[in-house]
Amino acid sequence: SAVISQKPSRDICQRGTSLTIQCQVDSQVTMMFWYRQQPGQSLTLIATANQGSEATYESGFVIDKFPISRPNLTFSTLTVSNMSPEDSSIYLCSVAGRGNQPQHFGDGTRLSIL
């Protein structure tokens, strides 16, 4: 399976600031996904990131708050904008497998907003 690296692994940020999270994959993948996992909760899909096109956002998530880039087939970024304490979560990227392979996840970015 693909090796997925996320940076930073964790950060503590001030409210009102923005943070960009990077996701790097060691092989080319068509689809990349961004999820949020709030403390003690399950994962919720934020958006699907396609290379060369706009990301597709799920209900409750908007581009102004979570802009996403997907410049090539091995890299994506998620920005958490104008952060508030409610944005304190783990943000995870996953990649779609080839053929019938399942989605695989990075270890996430643990974000705390003061």
Partner: protein, 116 residues
């Protein structure tokens, strides 16, 4: 709305016993189901998956059972080991194309605790 959920937040079993983790889903259009294991500080790790045209699939020490009639999914772990301690999530999507093109809907998670 459509959702995937789990019955129990915590399951405690003795080391060496078999564990069964359950999951209920409500989207009758779901045709792909997957179990993940998440250890503290890590991302979800794939365990096993199953498509809706099957009712059972076995892996190494794990078995997934799918009952489409009652929209129920279970994960069985044989001879539970201390390393099995983690949170287990079921997830689903519909119209799985084989290319993993759809995002997943996750259940709430079950924390499996292994007692010595």
């Amino acid at each position: 709305g459509e959702s995937v959920g789990l019955h129990l937040p915590t399951l405690s079993v003795q080391e060496g016993d078999n564990s069964i983790i359950n999951c209920a889903y409500s989207n009758s259009a779901s045709d792909y189901f997957i179990w993940y294991k998440q250890e503290s500080g890590k991302g979800p790790q794939f365990i096993i998956d199953i498509r809706s045209n099957m009712d059972k699939r076995q892996g190494q020490r794990v078995t997934v059972l799918l009952n489409k009639t009652v929209k129920h999914l279970s994960l069985q772990i044989a001879a539970t080991q201390p390393g099995d301690s983690a949170v287990y999530f079921c997830a689903e999507n519909e119209q799985y194309s084989g290319g993993g093109a759809d995002g997943l809907t996750f259940g709430k998670g079950t924390h499996l605790i292994i007692q010595p």
